[in-house]
Symmetry: C2
Subunit: 455 residues, 2 copies
């Protein structure tokens, strides 16, 4: 029963060994055989494997070969393979695999197989199963529904409505109707409103909008949701890398994604891990766990301030009153920096500020910081000069001027720099930025004090 291998290599493996290879744990060997074997042979061998053993060799197949093999399988075996891929223990097997091995299994599934695999699953099951499809976490592929009602350009409006009457009940939405060609490639979108209001004899191809928004299965969910918000879309077709329709994301899912993302951003800005569940459903231990690591990081960063203060011990010992203004000075500089950081991080999150805006944005924030520093210097130094002493008023005033400018620089630049080096800007949380501002603000304070007070 062995046939010549496609690559024409001479070492045709005996069938008995193939069976062992496909059942075994040596993924590299399996991969090598699958890469060169004839799709017909692969289909035969898969059919001979126990149901639960089929998932891994099938997922190791390159995308185009996977589709070919799938179509060669007997419908009953196709069904069993799909059921196997859906099973919880197969999913667990995948989750538990070595990340390197798993990465080898994560090439995109062919659109036809992916859609059949996902069909009929609940959203929760779908989210679990989509690991198997090679869609990265937080990608559109994990958010979409595969139950999409698509039309053909050649249909009339009457035929399209007739088709909707047949398939419309099971579709996730029929308000946005993707139009596909005979290779399932997306060629347009037609809104149900336009379809209903159209002349029944008009053709879908004429009615549809050919300039259509769509997203790839591996697009980031937040980007997809923001696009839908900006373009006022009720649904967005999701395509694979060959532009074939695999699913659709609806606006209610997009809203949920945005709400989750906001909650995450808010948590991260305050230096805590997102809870990922409602507040009252979170135990005290989980609350503490979401915060403790970050607090330890911040206390580490804050240790710098201890060293700065220690360096200026003699200055402090000479004028104890200098210590009185330490919380006020670093607090004010920290607040100024936090305002900059928060504004910039938010503007980036909603897409108002991009990486290339770094120089103008930092320039504006530094100017703003200088202005604010000047106002605050006057507000703070006058009462201090009158109540405590002229010199210390000058020291605090000058420090606020310099430290607020510096704080705006740090607060605006760090989120942008984090993004440039590929980190989430939210990693530059307010407490982390404040810790840096505290340390630099203290240096400024004591240096100015040394000069002004001639210490």
């Amino acid at each position: 029963m062995t046939r010549p291998t496609i690559s024409g290599t001479p070492d045709a493996v005996p069938a008995i060994e193939i069976h062992e290879i496909l059942e075994g744990a040596d993924l590299e060997l399996m991969d090598r055989w699958l890469a060169q074997a004839d799709p017909v042979v692969i289909a035969e061998e898969l059919a001979r494997l126990a149901r639960e053993r089929r998932a891994i060799p099938f997922r190791l197949l390159a995308k185009d070969r996977a589709l070919e093999v799938f179509e060669l399988l007997d419908p009953s075996v196709q069904q069993e393979l799909l059921e196997g891929l859906r099973e919880i223990n197969v999913r667990q097997l995948f989750e538990e695999m070595d990340p390197d091995d798993r990465a080898r299994l994560t090439e995109e599934m062919p659109a036809t197989v992916a859609r059949r695999l996902l069909a009929g699953l609940s959203p929760a099951e779908r989210r679990l199963t989509s690991t198997l499809l090679g869609y990265p976490p937080d990608s559109a592929g994990r958010l979409m529904s595969p139950e999409v009602a698509n039309l053909r350009a050649g249909m009339t409006a009457r035929e399209a409505i007739e088709r909707l009457r047949q398939i419309g009940r099971s579709a996730e939405t029929i308000y946005a109707l993707p139009v596909t060609d005979d290779r399932r490639r997306l060629v347009g979108v037609l809104g149900l409103r336009d379809l209903v209001l159209a002349d029944p004899s008009a053709s879908v191809g004429d009615l549809m909008d050919p300039d259509v928004y769509s997203a790839r299965v591996d697009s980031d969910q937040e980007g997809v949701a923001r696009l839908m918000g900006e373009a006022d879309l009720l649904a967005l077709p999701i395509v694979d890398h060959e532009d074939r329709l695999v699913g659709i994301v609806t606006v209610d899912d997009a809203m949920e994604v945005l709400e989750e993302e906001e909650t995450e951003d808010v948590a991260r800005a305050a230096g805590a891990d997102p809870l990922g569940r409602p507040y009252l459903a979170t135990s005290v231990l989980q609350l503490a766990r979401s915060r403790v690591i970050w607090l330890i990081v911040f206390i580490g960063a804050g240790a710098v301030t201890v060293n700065v203060m220690a360096v200026f011990e003699s200055t402090l010992a000479q004028v104890v009153a200098l210590a009185f203004f330490v919380p006020l000075v670093i607090g004010t500089a920290g607040n100024t920096g936090a305002q900059s950081a928060t504004t910039i991080t938010r503007a980036m999150a909603v897409g108002e500020v991009r990486l290339e805006d770094l120089p103008p944005v930092v320039g504006r924030e530094v100017t703003t910081g200088l202005l604010l520093g000047a106002v605050l210097a006057v507000v703070a130094s006058v009462p201090i000069a009158l109540l405590v002493g002229r010199d210390i008023g000058i020291v605090v005033g000058l420090t606020l001027l310099v430290a607020c400018t510096l704080a705006s620089l740090i607060g605006s630049a760090l989120p942008l720099v984090a993004k440039r080096v590929g980190l989430d800007p939210a990693v530059m949380s307010v407490p982390l930025i404040t810790a840096l501002i505290d340390a630099s603000g203290l240096v400024v304070y004591f240096l100015i004090a040394t000069v002004v007070l001639a210490l």
Copy 2:
């Protein structure tokens, strides 16, 4: 031409005087006459006034009388009145009025007049004009579109689709179709999907969902948007206080409201006024203005720390090293409190935590703060004890334990308390809470130092 007044008071005012009253600036006199005059007389007098003078007396009419008068007007006068109400100078007149006087003009407009007034205006014009309708700022009335496609329960599906073909192009949405009775009261909603997929002879009354989500014109926009997100609604009918349909809010507008609200919350949390425009379209002066008042407030709150430090001057003078740990101690407590405040404020914004949850929420946060304080006390005090001194390590450790617990109490309680007394919880911004934590943390620090170091 004078007719008996409705109230039957004997002092029927001569027509010539009425004209003067309605043209004059004495709103109280005008109001008194309008409250008792016969609607037919009012309609006649309104018609005799110059176009631009009609708006104010009309808006002074009580709602039911306004509708009666409006319907008595000649269609051409109706049209002129509507145009007058739309005019920018009339709007300005209203905006510039004394708030007390304006409040008297702000009873809800009858649904029929409101819809005709708003129809044909751009969303921006609509937002301006809705001041005139008595809809409060940030209310659903200002967000809705009056161009709503409504159905009657007695129609068949075929008739409903026929009606949509006639009026559907001008409607804001036809995906959610409010069903109204003959008094324009909302009795149900039918989704276009169900209408299209239904048997053409089925009745709208049978197809519609009678348990329908709706909101009042004066509902808060954010609440409306969150309801739409939670209930996965594409559109929400908006009704007046008599349950009559006046407009519809669509999901794209809801998403915009949510995005704006998030941006506002983020700005407020950092202690800045929301910009209300894209970041790069905001001038440096506007940026500074949005932040400076709050920074001055925070510097005022921060002045307390100066006094606390001054109170403990002799302690500081004896052990200068105590000053070294001031930024670290208050920074860590501040971060812990900020985590609590941020988590609670967000949980309230998305509706996970309500006012009545105050005791359990504060209890959980205080326990979490105690746990975190214990961990941080160990993390910080061991290296300090080894590198600086045993006693100072104990002081810092004990302070972190107490101050973090206290910080969680302040951070979680203040937003809830703010809400209870009717303030926006976001007023309790992180910098304001931190200022309070700084002051109380310092007191704790120096008290513990005095005891442990026997000063």
